[in-house]
Subunit: 124 residues, 2 copies
Amino acid sequence: MTKKSETPYDSLERIFHEPNRMAIMSALCTAEKGLRFSDIKKTCNLTDGNLNRHLKVLSEAKAITIKKKFVDDKPCTTVSLSEIGLQRFNEYLNALEQVLQRAKEAVSEDARGQAPFIGETVGA
Amino acid sequence: MTKKSETPYDSLERIFHEPNRMAIMSALCTAEKGLRFSDIKKTCNLTDGNLNRHLKVLSEAKAITIKKKFVDDKPCTTVSLSEIGLQRFNEYLNALEQVLQRAKEAVSEDARGQAPFIGETVGA
């Protein structure tokens, strides 16, 4: 799943870079024994269909585990972060931090007037 | 384009949240008078087709301006950040920073053993 990093942006793992999946992963990080489907849905403000779709992507990447069992005679789906999921999410956040830092530096460089005209710095 | 912010993740503008577009925007931030198509392509490690596709998205959102002219009798496409593009990219980076901070705090909370069982904290 991890592709060759040719630019720092390449190291942003696509499975975590979708905002809703980032929200799901962050929520799962705070619950060692997992979260119920209904709680993730509420926390992340998602529909059943959307949450199911994102959980499928994360599960296929082995970032989470999904368990279905009965609690008080009612079916209950519990989602937990896997060890590898936590590790890779952490790596993703570190990569994101670097990319963010670089972008912020670029924005602060944009002083609208300081940069030389492109023809002076870049060959044809 | 900006949708209602119901979670902090919703404030991550989708047009900037694609890693290649983030790379393009960051590159443009460093060049007040714009960058040539060929230079962006090289800097961001993109094909002609991919770069064209991303520029179209950014241009339709009025985040960039694209100018075609002749330089030394050769056609030259120059891409520049718009004022609104810079402002919105800056806002995106601030939103991203908050989301990143929240996720990092969540990861650090995952001490694998400290969190109470979900049944103790969340209603049925």
